[in-house]
Symmetry: D2
Subunit: 283 residues, 4 copies
């Protein structure tokens, strides 16, 4: 079955839902999902509509063009996806490999509709994992000095491999502004704290020192500001005085895996809309 999905954001106005719904219905599309959200404070409207392409009277190539007419009337930003476009994902990783392993296992078990042909790292440790799951492994050691040159090579690979989404699965390097700009809202990071608390390095040690009673993990889109991009998902777990830093790490790794996996799945299923450095998740 071939589906089409449109994601829409625009200023709130009368008639948007009906207009979009009619666009699909009047062209003989069977609506499978339709979600909308209004942010009353921001006076903003968001919509996700999915329909079965079987019997749809507008040809696939023409849908965008036809929809543009509507979109213009409502000042919409919109994206159109088809279910046979399988995103290609590159995973970036440093020394910790639990998230990488977890992503591959979920891919294999059918949780993600994508391909993961590329792993990039500044270390050699994850090569056997990439190999085990049939992905190419590119090692780029990073120093302050060589970073621009290495990123250039990385970008070349990503382009050659036609990568649609980059996952930073505990990749402990800060990407340059130029890199981030090339993949705007297409880089998902997992940070091992409940942001905005403990942004930056070594959050578990700092959480331990602070004496918090809960730890967390946060997945977010990467922007030029470190750990400040739009939050996609978060979760927390209880700890106690009995837990040492290593216990926080162990417990936190479970959170990281789950939180990252949910964010990736929602992105791949085109369920995320970004506005105002925040996300709407049509789960």
């Amino acid at each position: 079955m071939l589906n089409a999905t449109i994601l829409i954001s625009c200023p709130d106005k009368k008639g948007i839902t009906a207009t979009v719904t009619n666009f699909v219905y009047n062209n003989n599309g069977n609506i499978l999902h339709s979600d909308q959200h209004t942010d009353d404070e921001a006076k903003a409207f968001f919509m996700r509509i999915v329909w079965d392409m079987k019997g749809f009277t507008i040809k696939r190539e023409m849908i965008g063009k036809k929809f543009s007419a509507i979109a213009g009337n409502f000042e919409m930003k919109w994206e159109l996806y088809f279910s046979d476009q399988v995103p290609r994902v590159a995973v970036f990783v440093s020394k910790q490999t639990h998230c990488l392993y977890d992503l591959f296992l979920r891919l294999k078990s059918g949780q993600f509709r994508c391909e993961m042909p590329v792993v990039v790292s500044n270390h050699p440790y994850a090569e056997h994992i990439a190999r085990e799951f049939g992905a190419k492994y590119y090692e780029f050691p990073i120093t302050a000095k060589n970073k621009p040159a290495q990123e250039k090579k990385q970008l070349n690979i990503l382009e050659n491999e036609r990568i649609d989404l980059i996952i930073l699965a505990r990749y402990h390097q800060i990407l340059t502004r130029g890199f981030v700009d090339r993949y705007r809202m297409k880089i998902i990071n997992i940070h091992h704290s409940f942001l905005p608390a403990f942004a930056g390095s070594d959050p578990y040690s700092r959480a331990f020192k602070k004496g918090v009673k809960i730890i967390g993990a946060t997945s977010h889109y990467v922007t030029e500001k470190l750990d400040e991009g739009p939050i996609i998902e978060q979760d927390t777990a209880r700890i106690s005085h009995r837990d040492a830093v290593k216990d926080l790490i162990r417990s936190g790794e479970d959170l990281e895996k789950m939180v990252l996996a949910r964010a990736v799945r929602w992105h791949l299923e085109r369920k995320i809309l970004v506005y105002d450095n925040k996300t709407v998740i049509f789960d």
Copy 2:
């Protein structure tokens, strides 16, 4: 602002969303919320649509009649509500009063759009609470023998008071089938376990004896089968071997209050659809 809400359930079929949306739009209604859900297994479709009545071209009294025409085409079950209809709620309670207190405090703080003019009990203990919050208190001691007669009196009061919703806030009496039939899907119970585990009496003691590591609370609509009606909301809390039955009770009371309050709020906001002994919650 006067809003109208329609809740719809029907067999899944092409065009429902568009038809309902157009019904509102073409009559100049501004859609405020529109949620839909399809149960693929049951081939069932559910929808909730809310619109601003300002400028709506069908008169309030005629909306139901006009909508019937559409509804017939899709074999819809539907309910229509207006936001100026403030539901009247009766709370039933036995000896434990924490839920009753909690409901009144939430009402007072604006969490519930309803009136709570009536408290019914088989005991005298909650009278001062009802009085404090300006509600009438009716005490009906119940025995196996007098139950039918007492329920009859209760039903008279409920009718005189034009009660729309009954909340069993730890009311430890089983209502007869006849009573339940008079308020179908209009009686919400809080049960102090995560159903279907520990249905029936004394769930905390049984949970303790069983050695479970989590306890829970469940709010559900009351049907003729004890603790088996459609579940509206559940939540759980961790316990450990250090917790005695009294600790389970203390911790569980917090769950009961929150779980019941959410269920009541969703009901009052017309966000719940029931089918197949399950609920769809358009939160």
Copy 3:
């Protein structure tokens, strides 16, 4: 039954457990609870021991003196409590009254072993609640200018009422250093965020603006640094893009009540040890 409780913290060293245990046992005390914790990083040892005073061969008045000898050998800081000493609690509150109400209801239902004879506020709104539960109400409007004078009066009242613990149940005034010093580790605050995130004012609005997917509440002892004292308890709840600020507030109020109540109960049961701006909770 009369119990004695000793709370101990000291540098970690061989023989502490045995020495303390023997102090109780050799004087014919029946140990009811004994918990210990070692912070390997800080090389610190913590212990809580509770025993039945029935038949204990050291007279109550002499226990402290006798125990001092042991304590000296291990450089212990220690506190001794008897179960017939019922703490007297003052609750400070501003405009929001949900925590105050909750504390009184829990007191009444037997969750707290204390008295709550005093409510202090910078507003008049909670007077009827204090009255309902038989507490005195003192209103002290606070301005930048009159704060020192008003605090002086407050301290007088607290002293006259022999107050052992102060609960800031959404009291929106910063206490001066002098005030805090008089009640060191005897002032418990509830902050409506998961600290260290969103310290300071208006955390729910800031959480909304930030787009977090979880909100939280934190209870902590008050020190001279705002929202930075030792954390006693925290909890979190999920939110989504559908939640407006008012929904965060509603959901957060449930967290605040539960988190504050746990902290207060643990304090009253002498289960909290503070070191290094952190807490050990012997629950």
Copy 4:
């Protein structure tokens, strides 16, 4: 560092803590951890004590004998472990392999102090996983008829491999009473529901049909009664009407992995005491 651990359960009586503590202290043992619990209802006492063997004046081989004298006075059941005894674990698995994979990855990352040399299955699907992590794979297809014979062969292997603990990591066969008796409280199962709800087969489908709002997972020791052995750990996750059975399965798999891992870790760290078909977890 070599540690010794004693786990004790006995009727509650004066002097147990002091006696056990003195046994260690008077023989020059440095107590590293000491936890105790009293079940007031069952009048039962539980203790776990861990000490550094360095300088301990009783020889390792004689500790049990010497401790027996004490144990007799208090009718203790007790177990003695040394930290250099590394348990050998066999994992049983059927078609789902997520728990098996997870166990191996946690072993590799240092979360479990054990060896996992053996995987047993009634299917061929997990062989490559066992091989990847260097474990032997034994396939025993099971039918109603061949079960006794196959179990006999399994028991032979377990004995030859000197297996101390069996993990049923989604092994969908019921072990016979004879098998269970050979490994009493040494078989840990993961059940994919919050027991006692949905014991038996196909819990996710039944949870979906029932319309519950939370799902769960339970790890427990296996006894002759299906899904009724002592519960070690449980956890739950929220679901909604939007989740189909496959979503429950996906979400549940995360719970299963975490809940099973915690149970296994606690068992390996000798933190679990069983009594009255319940567990005390000294975490």
